[in-house]
């Protein structure tokens, strides 16, 4: 046999080190040794839409702590001379010349036939916007008196990028302030629902037996009920003399109270499936306690799934708050949320005469979409060992 080989074997004189010599292995090694978190991240990163959406969400949430600085006006600062003023667009060029960001001032005349204010734009006198400037005073986080703002209206002029409402309050500033409430309510609500879901799902999957079937029935019943009428009933039950902050927390808890069944069901089914896995048996044989098995081995295993499904249910919280506030049963002024803002745009006059009052829809839709995309991406990435 041996003598039939026509060509001699090539033998490299270098010593063989599998870790270095095999170029293909290095990549594989990195893959096989990566933690599951890293694997999830790599898989998530491949979904372009989800990554972009994650940045959109980051942008919105990064705004939340600094709304006072970003908003050009205060939350309830009234400009009595500019009621229902239309949006004031930002221009860059005046008479073909570059001036930098500026606005044209406008003034109104009262139309005695239609009883509306007609705003006339004065195109001769551009007013430059000020950046990193001293604007109207505010209390940062309600604590420190400050005047520093990112953008200020021109000296003696106005800057209503999205127009004003019936009291002459700048809509853009109110949307920015509203972001704080609307975005936080989604997170707190999901926190409540997450805790409830983890508890009930965990108890059902852990104890089994009649507790399991009782919780299962409860989940089925809650899932078969239409949410909104119940939300309405529960919000109507909030005492009218509560402070707006108490109402805020009340609404958040109400939103979370009806949302947990989906999560609980996911927790239970994952617990049941994972309980049969070999690594659980191994841990049991090594003498680990049940709490340790659940906390160390089971929960980390399905946490990524839970976070994905939680992300997917944040939008329903945000939309729920919007709907409740829109109907006047949710948050009440002076608390400003996107729903409260939309409440002011709920008549047909707003749609036809002051269409800019509908601007708050845009952030609502953007945030809801972004949460959906990120949730989809997370769900696909949550199980990195499964192609």
């Amino acid at each position: 046999m041996r003598e039939q080989l026509a060509t001699p074997h090539f033998v490299d004189a270098q010593p063989f080190d599998p870790g270095v010599s095999d170029p293909g292995r290095h990549e594989d090694e990195r893959f096989y040794r990566a933690s599951s978190l890293a694997l999830i991240w790599w898989k998530f990163r491949r979904n372009r839409l989800a990554v972009v959406s994650a940045f959109v969400l980051l942008f919105f949430y990064a705004m939340v702590p600094f709304v006072e600085v970003i908003a050009p006006y205060g939350q309830s600062e009234r400009n009595g001379d500019f009621l229902y003023a239309p949006p004031q667009p930002v221009h860059l060029f005046h008479d073909g010349e570059f001036v930098g960001p500026f606005v044209y001032p406008y003034s109104f005349t009262f139309n005695k036939e239609t009883f509306t204010r007609d705003y006339v734009v004065d195109r001769t006198a551009p007013q430059r916007l000020r950046f990193f400037c001293q604007g109207s005073p505010y209390r940062f986080w309600g604590l420190v008196e400050m005047r520093f703002r990112l953008v200020c209206p021109p000296e003696g002029g106005t800057f209503f990028l999205m127009g004003t409402d019936r009291l002459g309050r700048d809509l853009l500033s109110r949307i920015i302030y509203g972001a704080r409430i609307s975005l936080v309510i989604g997170l707190v609500g999901i926190g409540v629902s997450f805790a409830l879901g983890l508890f009930f799902g965990g108890v059902a999957g852990y104890l089994g037996g009649w507790v399991d079937s009782a919780i299962q029935r409860l989940i089925e019943i809650l899932r078969s009920l239409p949410e909104l009428p119940l939300w309405l009933a529960l919000s109507a039950a909030l005492p009218a003399n509560w402070s707006p902050v108490a109402v805020f927390f009340g609404i958040t808890i109400i939103l979370g109270l009806l949302d947990w069944p989906g999560l609980a069901r996911a927790v239970r089914s994952k617990l049941l499936a994972l309980r049969e896995e070999d690594f659980v048996k191994a841990a049991e044989l090594m003498g680990a306690s049940r709490t340790r098995i659940i906390a160390r081995h089971l929960i980390p295993n399905f946490m990524s799934h839970l976070i994905a499904s939680a992300t997917l249910s944040i939008p329903s919280m945000i939309l729920g708050e919007t709907a409740l506030s829109f109907l006047g049963l949710g948050l009440r002024p002076p608390v400003t949320s996107w729903g409260v803002l939309l409440n002011e745009a709920q008549n047909l006059a707003a749609v036809s005469l002051q269409p800019w009052l509908l601007w708050p829809i845009v952030p609502v839709v953007l945030v809801v979409l972004a949460f959906n995309f990120v949730g989809d991406g997370l769900r696909d990435a949550a199980d990195p060992y499964h192609e």
Binding site: L230, L232, A236, A323, V351, V365
Partner: protein
């Protein structure tokens, strides 16, 4: 099949019983009730005779009894203040304190219109979602597919009440359909003639689209994913290889497979649609139970609010029962015997 039906009906009744208890607890959560508030108000005004009348009503409707007794009397398994069983089970829906009329008269037509609105929406969702999903799955990654996907996401993300407002405005501007209501104003209280029915159909268009949009979007997404799963399977490839035209092959096998989760999905769809219809009715002031519910909740008109919540719950639970029966009938793989 009959045993399955019997068991399914029994669980439904138990479910409804628990739901009724839940609803009653929620209604009773706010302190006081309509009459105590009214009595306090009348006392403050010094109207002693009206206050005495209201107190008489309190006794007549047993509002001075403990809450559990009120609940049982409301359901109809406990003798009411009149000494006889007169509750939901006996077909007595209670008394509306705000309107000073029986609940049955207050809700009246609104029940039928609610039912009609929800039924048209369910039909709309299916009629629109199925063809679009088939198209979108057949031409995956085509421009049409992307448009459908985009529209689907927007439908998911836009708050329905605002869409209602905007559509309403443009429908009025472009087609001259009167704003709000389910028929033109001159038909209010008129007998049902062909004209009135036509007006009703015209006014149903916007609410149906608005309420159904979210559900349609979700359904298209799920149906498309299901169909795509099935299209990759061998039996479909075999059917195509044997010369079956694509449309026929799709409708004959994968479509039927993808339809099952679709029917069981009615269970998820219904609560969502009913929620949507309540909200949209409020915005568009449709004469359904939505606006009555909101007013009743605000005024603590307990029997009226309780009945409407119960009606809405029955609507979804019965809808789910129907979808389960349909599923059991359509899918031979579902075992009826037990777990």
């Amino acid at each position: 099949m009959i045993r399955y039906l019997a068991r399914r009906l029994a669980t439904m009744l138990v479910t409804l019983l628990i739901i009724s208890a839940l609803i009653f607890i929620i209604i009773k959560l706010p302190p006081g009730d309509f009459l105590t508030n009214q009595i306090a108000e009348l006392r403050a005004q010094g109207d002693a005779s009206a206050a005495a009348r209201a107190e008489f009503l309190v006794a007549q409707y047993g509002l001075d009894r403990p809450a559990w007794e009120q609940y049982l009397a409301w359901v109809g398994v406990w003798p009411g203040p009149g000494g006889d069983h007169a509750g939901l089970l006996q077909g007595n829906w209670g008394w509306s304190f705000e309107y000073d009329r029986p609940v049955r008269e207050v809700v009246g037509d609104a029940l039928w219109l609610t039912l009609l609105l929800n039924l048209t929406t369910v039909i709309f969702v299916h009629v629109v979602a199925i063809p679009i999903a088939i198209y979108s799955a057949r031409r995956q990654y085509s421009i049409g597919d992307y448009v459908v996907t985009l529209f689907g996401y927007l439908g998911l993300a836009t708050p329905s009440f605002l869409l209602a407002l905007i559509l309403l405005y443009y429908m009025n501007r472009w087609f001259g359909i009167s704003i709000g209501g389910l028929y033109d104003p001159q038909f209010a209280g008129a007998p049902w003639t062909a004209e009135k029915v036509r007006s009703l159909a015209e006014h149903l268009i916007v609410p149906t689209i608005v309420i159904g949009l979210g559900g349609t979007a979700a359904m298209i997404r799920r149906m498309r994913a299901n169909l795509l799963d099935e299209l990759g399977k061998q039996y479909y490839v075999t059917a195509r290889a044997k010369g079956l035209p694509p449309g026929k092959a799709l409708l004959k096998y994968p479509f039927r497979m993808a339809l099952n989760p679709f029917i069981s999905d009615i269970g998820n769809l219904l609560p969502q649609l009913v929620s949507g219809s309540v909200l949209v009715s409020l915005v568009m002031s449709l004469p359904t139970v939505g606006p009555i519910l909101l007013a009743a909740l605000k005024a603590q008109d307990q029997y009226l609010a309780g009945f409407i919540l119960m009606f809405v719950a029955v609507l979804t639970v019965v809808g789910m029962l129907i979808s389960d029966i349909l599923l059991a009938w359509l899918d031979p793989r579902i075992r009826l015997g037990g777990r």
